[in-house]
């Protein structure tokens, strides 16, 4: 199913610059309904309080990491269907394997380009 340009997207990253970059790229790709969270815990709260169609998350964050948030999403009956894209500097094979085991929908290594984001979105929403 192609991505709905009106779907609500949650961007979770502790760095304000990264949230702005992801938001800007998604805007260029045609999405306009975006929310932000600074860590996994805040992300989960927002996900539980509203309806989201897609989550883009960092891995390393204070309070709750992206991988822990991903596990919590997959363990939650109401949230487990939401596609989660990890955008992270954690470029070790073990990290990728851990994310796959936790149920990640796709994985982008920083630094990345808009084309990579587009390609991953196409794969997630095909």
């Amino acid at each position: 199913m192609p991505a709905d340009p009106n779907m609500k997207i949650l961007i979770v990253d502790d760095m304000s610059t990264m949230r702005r970059i992801v938001k800007n790229i998604l805007k260029q790709l045609g999405f306009s309904n975006m929310e932000e969270a600074e860590n996994g815990q805040e992300g989960l709260q927002k996900l539980r309080a509203d309806t989201y169609g897609f989550v883009v998350s960092d891995w390393n964050m204070p309070v709750m990491t992206g991988i822990d948030m991903l596990r919590a999403i997959r363990a939650d009956e109401k949230l487990k269907h939401i596609p989660v894209l990890m955008v992270t500097a954690e470029a070790q094979k073990e990290n990728l394997v851990e994310a796959i085991q936790a149920g990640v929908s796709n994985y982008i290594v920083k630094p990345f380009t808009a084309e990579t984001m587009q390609e991953k979105l196409n794969k997630i929403f095909k």
């Binding site: 760095m15 500097a89 630094p111």
Partner: protein, 199 residues
């Protein structure tokens, strides 16, 4: 028999004496190393604080570049819409060559848009730098904690820094500290210049 026991005691005393001198020597050396070590350790929190400032400065700079890039993206978007409308009008009036030229301009804007997105994504360097700086700060905290443990274990007392190196580091930190408070903004500089007759 007695002579041999006495001889053994003498040897033991001599070895114990040597051991005592060795321990005393080692303690003195540790104390000598300890003072500059303590001084360096005292500088670590300051150095960590400057690293954190570095993060803040790159973050602010990056946001400013992003703000300007987003402004250009916005005006590019408006231009593209206006050009598309003008092109439709020209086509309706059968001015195909002019419409074609507008299409070329629209294509150039689209190409510029791609470059602007590339500028935005290139700015992700700030996040990578910040993550490394955070790790360095954690390492500095750890080193300082371990140095403090040594200081406590060996009861080293703080004295004035002995080595030139410690003084140099001290001086550099002082310069960094001063630059935090002494740097002035251009507005203020202009104000002062105008007070001195600069126009």
């Amino acid at each position: 028999m007695e002579a041999s026991v006495e001889n053994g005691h003498m040897k033991l005393y001599a070895e114990l004496g040597e051991l005592a001198r060795f321990v005393e020597n080692a303690m003195r050396k540790l104390t000598e190393i300890g003072t500059p070590m303590l001084h360096s350790s005292a500088q670590l929190p300051q150095a960590a604080s400057h690293l954190q400032d570095l993060n803040k400065m790159t973050e602010e700079g990056t946001h400013e570049v992003m703000r300007l890039t987003e402004l250009i993206q916005e005006s590019q978007g408006c231009l593209q819409k206006d050009l598309a409308k003008a092109k439709d009008v020209l086509l309706a009036m059968d001015c195909t060559s002019l419409a074609e030229r507008l299409k070329l301009a629209t294509d150039t804007l689209a190409e510029n848009d791609k470059h602007l997105v590339e500028i935005m994504t290139a700015l992700s360097f700030q996040d990578l730098v910040a993550q490394r700086v955070k790790k360095l700060v954690t390492i500095l905290d750890d080193v300082q904690r371990k140095l403090m443990e040594l200081v406590v274990v060996f009861g080293i007392e703080q004295q004035k820094p002995a080595s030139d190196q410690a003084s140099k580091a001290d001086e550099m930190l002082k310069q960094l500290e001063a630059s935090k408070t002494a740097s002035i903004k251009q507005d203020l500089a202009d104000e002062i210049l105008s007070e001195f007759g600069f126009k």
